[in-house]
Symmetry: C2
Subunit: 438 residues, 2 copies
C-alpha cells in the first residue's frame, strides 16, 4: 500500500461501524470518503421509540456531515453504492466511480422475510427512520379507525396488534405498544376503550431474547405479561396477509402486524465475491479483512466472525463500534509498516428494555431485571446518543413521559388508510351478525 | 334550537378556529364532535421552522385528542368531510353521516397556484407537516447533490433557491434559507461552498409584507438584503417548470422553488351554497353565521368578513382564535335564549420574523424592527404553542441554535431524487462547455 500521494479510504455506510471507522481514520494521514444512502446516521437502538411515538426522528438521528464536521480530511457523499470493481479498485455509484486505496464496507443489514418479501407490505420491519414512521402511522391509525367505526354505531372492533419476533426489537415494540394502549391513550377515546387492545408477541424459538441468559428471558416474558402482552414462544409464522397472520392452520386477525424477526445482510456483501454465511454476511479474516484482499475490510452487521469460544459475534452496536475502531487502527499500522492485530470483541454486557421502568440486563455474571436494569439502559443509551443537544432533549422527553404517561410525537403523517382495514371490518361485521343470529 | 336532548355541535377542522370553538363549547351543555383530516393540530406559524430543519414535526404539532382530553362531551374523529346536507342537517364523510344541531365549518385554506395546479410538483407550498417535510427534503437534498456533482470533478453548480411570494411565509423562508446556507452548512461541505448559494425572493406587488405598514416592509427588505437575499418586488411569476421559474420572458434557473404566494379557501366553502369571494371564502353574517342558516357558522381562513373600517380580516391565527371563541359564546347565548352578538376583531398587532434576531412588529402605532421585534415574536409564539412540554423543548432548541448556529432536524427522509436536477445538470454542463469554448 505504498503511494506518494495520501491514501484514499472509502467507507461505505455510516452506521455505527462505518462512522466510527471514519472518525478514527480522521487522525491518520489519509483522505476519507464516507458514503451513505441517507444524509443522517440513525441511532438504531432507539428507533422503536420513534415507531411508538415517544421520540421524534430528529432526536435519534443526526446529519452525517454534522457528526464529522471539522475533520477536513473526511468527505461525506449521499449516494447508493451499487457495486465494486476489486481489480480497478473503484466503488461504483449510479453516476460516479470513486477510487480507493483502502475500502471499508459497513453496509449493515435489513429485515428479512424468510423469502416472502410480499409480507413486507402487511408487516413492516424496523430498520430506518422511514420504517419507524410507517409503523407509527399504522399503530395510531388503527385506534383512530376503530374510534370512527364505533362512532358510527357499529360497536368496538377488537384491536389486535401482532409483533413477530421475540428478539430485543420485538420485545421493545410489544412492551411499548401495551403501555400506549393501557396508559397513554386510555382516556383520550370516547367510543372505544384502548385498554381492550390485544398485543401478541410471537417467537419461533423456545424463548424470548435467545441470545440472553435463560433467567433473563424468563424475566422479560414475565415483565411483558405484567404489561398485558400475550407471549407465544415456539410459534412459527407461516403466512402474513393484509389483516391477519397465519401460524400453520391457525389464523390470527391483526389490525397491525409488525415484523421483528429475520435479518439479512446487505446485498453488497455478495458483490465482494467472497464466501458468505446463510444470512449473507461476509466471512472475514481475523483482522476483519476480505480473504485475499488486505485492502478491503468488512465490519458491522455485514461481517461474520466468531469470537475465541467459537460464538458468532452478534449484530449489535458495540460490536460494530469496536470493529470500526479496530479497522482504523490496523490501517494506521499498515501506514507505519507495523503488523496488523486480529480483532477481539470486548463484551461489556447486553441490555434490552421492555417498557417503562422494565428491562433486563447482563453485565458479565451479573443479571438484573426491572427498574435498575431500565435505568442502566436509559443512561447508557443517552450517553451514546450522538449530539449533546439531542441528549438533553431525549432525557427531558423521557422524564416528561415517565411522569405523565404522555408521548409527544403522536403524529399520523402520510396516507390515512390502513392496508387490510376493510377486510377486518367485513370480518367483524360478519362475526357480529353470526353472534346476533346465534 | 329547542330540543329536549343535548344539542349536537359538529366542528369541521381542528385548526386555530375549530379547536378554540371546541374547547370553549366544552363548557356548555352540548355534545361536540370535532372532525379533522389529520390526527394532529399544526401550529402553522412555526411550520417554516420544520421546512428549514430548525424544529421537528412533533414539536409544533400535537394530537387533537390530547389537546381536548378530559372534556367528556368532546369527541374527536379522524376523517375527511366531503359534503353537507343542509336540509337533513348532516355532515357527510365517505363512510359515515354525522347529524348536527349546530355546524361550525373551520376548514381553512390551502395554497393556490393561480389556476396552475401543475406548478405544485415543482414549487411546493407550506400548509401541512407533510409540505414542510417535502420542502426540507428538497432544500437539504440540493446541497447534497451539488456536493456529489462537485466531488465527481464537474465543478460547483450554481445553487439557486427561489421563493415565490413576499408575505410573512415567503419572508420567513427566504431569511432562514439564507442563514442555513451562510452559517449552518458553511463548514460542512468539502467540494462546494454553501455560501455561494443564491436566494431570491419574488413578490408580485410593489412591496414585501403588503398587509404591514410601509416602513416595516422597507425594514424587512433591508434585513433580508443584509442576510444576502435578493429581493425582487413587482415581479410576477408566469410559469414554473422543473428547474426554473419564468417571469414573462425571463427564465430564472432554480434548484429548488418554494411557493408562498396564493391562498385558496377550502372547497368545502362552496358546498355550503352561499356566496363566496374571489378566493372562495364564504361571505358570512356579522355573527359569523351562514346567511339564512343561523345554525351554521363559518370561521377562520374560510370566512370572509370586514371590520368596522371596511377592511377584510386577515387569514391569521388571532382572527381564527377570536372567531372560534365568539362562536362558542353565541351558541351559549342561543341556549340561554339571549340575543347573539356580532363579531369584533381585537387586533393586538402583527409580527413577522426574518431570521435569527431579525423581525418586524406592529403593535398599534408602535412599529419595531430587529432584535426586540424578534424577541417579541419568539415569546409570543412560544406562549401560544400548545403543550407545556413542547414549549420547553422548542425554547431549548431555539436557545441552542441561537448560540451554535446548529439546526437539529436536518434529516432527508423519503426519496433522494430531486425533480429537475438532471435538467439543471445538463444546462450547467452545456453552459460551462460554452464558457470553455469562448
Amino acid at each position: 500500500m505504498e503511494s506518494k500521494t495520501t491514501p484514499q479510504v472509502v467507507v461505505v455506510g455510516a452506521g455505527f461501524g462505518g462512522l466510527q471507522a471514519a472518525r478514527r481514520l480522521a487522525r491518520y494521514p489519509v483522505r476519507v470518503t464516507l458514503i451513505d444512502r441517507k444524509n443522517h446516521h440513525t441511532f438504531q437502538p432507539l428507533l422503536y421509540q420513534v415507531a411508538t411515538a415517544g421520540l421524534s426522528p430528529g432526536e435519534i438521528a443526526a446529519p452525517i456531515r454534522w457528526i464529522v464536521r471539522g475533520r477536513r480530511n473526511v468527505e461525506v457523499l449521499l449516494g447508493e453504492v451499487q457495486d465494486f470493481d476489486l481489480q480497478r479498485r473503484v466503488v461504483k455509484l449510479p453516476d460516479l466511480e470513486i477510487p480507493y486505496d483502502y475500502l471499508i464496507v459497513a453496509a449493515g443489514a435489513s429485515h428479512a422475510y424468510f423469502g416472502h418479501d410480499e409480507w413486507e407490505a402487511f408487516a413492516p420491519g424496523l430498520k430506518t427512520i422511514e420504517d419507524a414512521l410507517e409503523i407509527r402511522r399504522r399503530v395510531l391509525l388503527a385506534f383512530e379507525l376503530a374510534e370512527r367505526q364505533a362512532a358510527s354505531g357499529e360497536g368496538q372492533m377488537p384491536l389486535n396488534f401482532v409483533v413477530v419476533g421475540g428478539g430485543p426489537t420485538g420485545v421493545e415494540l410489544a412492551g411499548t405498544l401495551a403501555e400506549i394502549a393501557r396508559r397513554v391513550l386510555a382516556d383520550e377515546f370516547v367510543s372505544i376503550d384502548p385498554k381492550a387492545t390485544r398485543i401478541t408477541l410471537l417467537e419461533g424459538g423456545p424463548r424470548l431474547l435467545p441470545t440472553y441468559p435463560e433467567d433473563l428471558s424468563r424475566s422479560a416474558e414475565e415483565q411483558l405479561r405484567r404489561l398485558g402482552v400475550e407471549v407465544h414462544t415456539s410459534t412459527m409464522v407461516t403466512g402474513v396477509e393484509p389483516a391477519a397472520v397465519w401460524m400453520g392452520q391457525t389464523r390470527m386477525p391483526a389490525a397491525v402486524t409488525l415484523w421483528a424477526a429475520g435479518v439479512a445482510a446487505s446485498p453488497l456483501g455478495k458483490k465482494l465475491g467472497a464466501p458468505t454465511d446463510r444470512a449473507g454476511r461476509v466471512l472475514v479474516a481475523p483482522d476483519l479483512s476480505l480473504p485475499g484482499h488486505p485492502e478491503i475490510f468488512v465490519i458491522g452487521d455485514l461481517a461474520s466472525l466468531q469470537d475465541e469460544h467459537g460464538k458468532m459475534l452478534p449484530g449489535v452496536a458495540p460490536v460494530a463500534l469496536q470493529e470500526g475502531a479496530a479497522t482504523a487502527r490496523n490501517i494506521g499500522r499498515d501506514l507505519r509498516g507495523e503488523a496488523r492485530q486480529p480483532f477481539h470483541y470486548f463484551d461489556k454486557g447486553s441490555l434490552a428494555t421492555i417498557g417503562r421502568a422494565a428491562a433486563v440486563a447482563q453485565f458479565g455474571k451479573l443479571h438484573i431485571s426491572g427498574f435498575i436494569a431500565w435505568l442502566s439502559w436509559l443512561f447508557i443509551h443517552i450517553f451514546f446518543l450522538i449530539g449533546f443537544r439531542n441528549r438533553i432533549i431525549v432525557l427531558l422527553q423521557w422524564a416528561w413521559s415517565y411522569f405523565t404517561y404522555e408521548r409527544g410525537a403522536r403524529l399520523i403523517t402520510g396516507d390515512v388508510r390502513l392496508p387490510g382495514w376493510e377486510e377486518l371490518q367485513r370480518a367483524e361485521t360478519a362475526s357480529s351478525e353470526e353472534r346476533r343470529r346465534a
